[in-house]
């Protein structure tokens, strides 16, 4: 049994490899087109018209190279990374961008080489199948009106039954076994060539990554600064001002006490009331900085508390959130809090669901409701705030809210 499944697996691999080689062959005419167009535009780029067209030719080649990458990725089971210089700006800036991008030249190099290698590799692969087909079709040849009426295989004339019974199966088996090695090897060679030329070198990818990180880090610092300013305002205009007014009232009461105890008592009562308001306000500010329940109960408890506080019935599932960085936890909390506030305010939903799932690399949050949908990112600050907060941690925000609902907000936060 095991042997049979091994044979079947081998045959399957050979068939898949053949598929890759055939796809490669299909790409050859496309490559010819891309190469010719690029050559023409490049030669004419001394003229202004050529400069205008050049980026389009490059974009076409990027597309063709993309197909090549998918060809290799499909065989090797892992993507071929690509990072291009964005094509934007005026005519000259665009032309300079595409000509300065080393990937432009890698693309064109591969396209040119693939015209040869694509035909060569596919030809070799098809040769294997052709031979097998020839073996199977041999019986037909006897009836064919060939000159000497003799058929040769591997140097043997098939002129007697023992020879036929021995030579054909033996030849077929030998070619099949050899093919089961050669076909995957050909596909691997094709994929390796694609990866060698078309995968953007590590250092370029790293440079790209640094650029992205610099941007998100700036966003994080901005968000942090805005947050600090907000807290300062809240404290300055709220709690601190209240404390000053309390102190004033108590000061006046102190002065009035001997002469007008009744008025003094009234001022003291006002001051006490103001103290209580100050405490409420401080609590709100503290919750805005770092929700105490996160510290006490972790994310599961905090999400449960948010769900319980929401006027719309919410079902919450939380899994795999044992060891999250504090910043990710806090961001997750605010995203869910903000999203549930939006659900309660705008969705007219009968129910909502919060789904939190963490694995070592990513924390995924999904907040969905069965409300009227049509959430507009431009209209409120809530969604923009979520997006900013998530971007600051290098995460992703995705909102789906067709008119009529349902609305689903998905946020991914990297934890590493």
């Amino acid at each position: 049994m095991k042997r049979v499944s091994g044979v079947r697996q081998r045959a399957g691999t050979a068939v898949r490899a053949t598929g890759r080689l055939l796809l490669g062959l299909l790409l050859v005419p496309v490559c010819v087109l891309g190469l010719v167009l690029f050559a023409l535009t490049f030669l004419s780029s001394a003229t202004f018209i050529g400069l205008i067209i050049l980026p389009y030719a490059v974009r076409l080649n990027r597309g063709i190279a993309g197909l090549g990458r998918r060809l290799a990725a499909g065989w090797q089971g892992r993507p071929v990374p690509a990072a291009y210089v964005p094509i934007k700006g005026g005519v000259l800036a665009r032309a300079r961008a595409v000509l300065g991008d080393p990937m432009t030249w890698r693309d064109i190099g591969w396209i040119a080489s693939h015209i040869v290698t694509g035909i060569l590799l596919a030809g070799l692969g098809l040769g294997v199948w052709g031979t097998l087909g020839f073996d199977l079709s041999l019986p037909l040849w006897w009836s064919a009106p060939l000159p000497e009426h003799a058929v040769y295989l591997a140097g043997f004339a098939l002129d007697s039954w023992p020879r036929v019974l021995l030579t054909i199966p033996a030849h077929f088996a030998a070619v099949a076994v050899a093919g089961s090695f050669v076909l995957p090897w050909l596909a691997t060679a094709q994929a390796a060539l694609i990866r060698a030329i078309l995968a953007t070198p590590e250092r370029i990818l790293l440079a790209e990554r640094v650029a992205v990180l610099t941007e998100t880090r700036t966003a994080a610092l901005d968000a942090h600064g805005a947050e600090l300013r907000r807290i300062e305002r809240d404290l300055h205009d709220g709690a601190q001002a209240r404390l000053v007014s309390i102190a004033m009232r108590l000061g006046v009461a102190e002065r009035l006490l001997p002469a007008d105890p009744a008025r003094a008592a009234q001022l003291i009562a006002e001051a006490r009331l103001s103290t209580e308001e100050t405490m409420t306000e401080l609590r709100d500010i503290i919750r805005g900085m770092y929700p105490p329940i996160l510290g006490d109960r972790g994310l599961p408890g905090a999400v449960a508390a948010l769900a319980a506080r929401c006027p719309v019935p919410v079902t919450a599932t939380v899994a795999g959130v044992d060891r999250l960085p504090a910043a990710v936890e806090a961001a997750a909390y605010f995203v869910i809090a903000e999203a549930l506030t939006n659900v309660a305010r705008h969705s007219a939903a009968a129910g909502a669901a919060v789904h939190v799932h963490g694995d070592p690399a990513t924390l995924t949050l999904r907040v969905s409701d069965d409300g009227r949908g049509g959430a507009d990112e431009a209209s409120g600050t809530g969604l923009a705030g979520i997006r900013r907060r998530v971007a600051a941690l290098d995460g992703r925000t995705d909102l789906s809210s067709p008119p009529g609902g349902p609305t689903t907000l998905t946020v991914e936060l990297p934890c590493g």
């Binding site: 601190q240 102190a247 000061g251 001022l267 103001s274």
Partner: protein, 215 residues
């Protein structure tokens, strides 16, 4: 005294008005913006204006800038600036125009009603009232090798009180020494800082502040 209150926070404006009225003063107007402040000074010509530093729309230092503007138009208009935090830079700006009748205090000080009322009266009379916090900032900013660092601890203390706008008599009472001793300290301070001696309270402050902020 007729007072104009410039404070956008209703709670604090009410508190101030309450306090001033209880102390027998008259609140001519309570306004919440820098423009209204300028208009109220033109209209009421108050004995003193009490101004918050942060005002709408941006809630930064509108109060300080409005105060400087009022002083430019009416150099003798006494102004007491109140704030929830003090910045030595603001003090320097307020004092830059010269002349007395300027005060700059933390809002916290208001609850010590009698001291606040004293400061108010002092500023209205053309004196100065600088918050001890401002003085502390100025004194901690001194560099090694600066003449201020040659002052004895007692002299530094006296300089601080002087800078708040206290008279020699006040300082003597606060430090429980004789007025003669204070006089001697002041003389030493002026000598060490290279300042010409002067009797007038606010001019001493101006001299001290301008000298220190010029570092």
């Amino acid at each position: 005294m007729r007072v104009v209150i410039v404070e956008d926070n209703v709670l604090l404006a009410e508190g101030l008005a309450l306090l001033l009225r209880t102390e027998g003063h008259q609140v001519a107007a309570t306004v919440g913006t820098a423009d209204a402040f300028l208009a109220a000074v033109e209209e009421h010509r108050p004995d003193i204006a009490v101004v918050d530093v942060r005002l709408p729309p941006a809630f930064r230092d509108e109060g300080v800038r409005a105060a400087v503007e009022v002083r430019r138009r009416h150099p003798a208009q006494p102004i007491l600036v109140l704030s929830q935090y003090v910045e030595q830079t603001y003090a320097t700006e307020l004092l830059a125009g010269g002349g007395g009748g300027i005060g700059y205090l933390l809002k916290d000080r208001v609850s010590r009603v009698s001291e606040f009322v004293d400061a108010l009266a002092r500023v209205a009379a053309g004196g100065t009232a600088m918050d001890p916090e401002v003085i502390a900032q100025l004194l901690t900013r001194r560099h090694a090798g600066h003449p201020v660092s040659t002052l004895s601890p007692r002299e530094a203390e006296v300089l601080g009180l002087m800078a708040e706008g206290r008279s020699n008599g006040d300082i003597a009472a606060l430090l429980t020494v004789t007025e003669r001793a204070v006089h001697k300290h002041v003389g030493n301070i002026f000598m060490k800082l290279g300042l010409p001696p002067s009797d007038s309270g606010h001019r001493r402050v101006l001299a001290v502040l301008s000298y220190l902020s010029a570092v």
